[in-house]
Amino acid sequence: MLRIIRSKPFIIIAVTVLLLVLLGISGMNNSRLTWLNNIVSVPMKPLQSAVTSIGQSLKSGLSYFGDMDEVKTENEVLKTRVAELEKANRELVLLEEKNNELREALNLKDEFGDYSIIGANIIAVEPGNWFNVFTIDIGTREGIEVDYPVVTGMKGLVGKILTADYTSSKVLTIIDEDSAAAAFISKSGGGHAVVRGDINLKELGFCRLDFIPLDVDVEVGDNIETSGLGGIFPKGITIGKVIEVRKSSSELNRYAVIEPTLDFKQLEEVYVLKNISGNEPAGSVLK
């Protein structure tokens, strides 16, 4: 009996079964095994932060020498640009004041008023080639929980929190094929659709728009934003622009290729939106 237990095939089978059980448990209920992730992620986090920032400063240090000429000409262009922008800015400040007055008058509820915004740095990315997940330097210690939306400022949707460890969390980007976000085609006569990642498109940094209503005429250049349905993402965050509409065999199978407003390869900082009102986001009843 002891000989059987000590034999290599037996050990291999036993370990395989053990790992399959682990796989099953972690697949079923993520929350119970997150402490396991902390074993690696907590000691890893300061090192990843350090290595990433060393890499970034090396990169900028190296480019310093190469870019000197470029910088000089760019500086000239920028100076004139600054003057132009200052002028435009003054006008905009006036417009903003006007806008605020009108808003208050209409008593418009600010869509992001229910959220507090937490800044985070990207410190690491997925070890493999298949997924588009990255690690940020805040976690449950800072109050981050799974499914919190992640944005850059208010102009672009990045994704949502996939797992939250004690000091760091993983963000699933919208171009990952596991990701899906309820979207709205923002033009007159626009409708609801779903933005999903696609294995072929994500290489280019694009994602696809599925389930486009039949009566909606999607065109290149249409803006896509979150619809607020599904309860994860708040309404009105820009996702991207339609750059191509593809039709397969029938009209029912059409989908659109979307170029996100963000360049995911250039991201360094993001913001996590934390719901502070306690209210579920609009539309979550439909879940």
Partner: protein, 170 residues
């Protein structure tokens, strides 16, 4: 034995650190090498399938914990990648670079195809496309990295074995 465990643990930790940070900047054709997999295959080639399987399972587990998806997937695949590479090569002359490259390449393609198939259960599967776009370029990249790893690992291994012989002598 103890030294071996320490060397592997430290190497896995360092490799994971770079795998998740700097490697992002040296992507070629959209892929980066899988350094952990290279380590597993080479340990199996150099020291046999038992060591390959153990290193595969433990480094896979570490990879699982870092990637933050279901725990156990990379551990299982690492276990079998180590077993396969070690077992298939057990009768071949190991210190031959061509044999080594052959095993790194094919185990990488198999491993990444398995990752793709197992993670896309329940959705559309385009295996050939996935192999052409990801697994194949990655396998080429892994083979190139393996040349450097192999050079280092062979030397560490010789030194460790030398110490064992010395210990026996006295």
């Amino acid at each position: 034995m103890k030294i071996r465990v320490i060397i592997y643990t430290v190497s896995i930790f360092i490799i994971l650190l770079f795998q998740t940070t700097w490697l992002e900047h040296i992507r070629i054709m959209g892929v980066k090498p899988n350094l952990i997999l290279v380590l597993v295959i080479l340990s199996a080639l150099i020291n046999g399938y038992t060591e390959g399987a153990v290193v595969g399972a433990f480094s896979g587990l570490a990879l699982d914990l870092v990637s933050g998806r279901t725990i156990g997937l990379y551990a299982l695949l690492g276990l079998y990648a180590g077993l396969l590479a070690g077992y298939a090569s057990r009768k071949l002359y190991k210190e031959n670079y061509l044999v080594m490259l052959f095993f790194v390449f094919f185990t990488s393609v198999l491993y990444e195809s398995a990752v793709y198939l197992l993670t896309s259960i329940g959705s559309e599967i385009h295996l050939l496309q996935a192999i052409a776009l990801k697994a194949f370029p990655e396998a080429v990249y892994n083979s190139a990295v393996a040349l450097i790893f192999y050079f280092i690992m062979i030397r560490i291994n010789r030194r460790l074995q030398g110490e064992i012989k010395l210990a026996r002598k006295y």
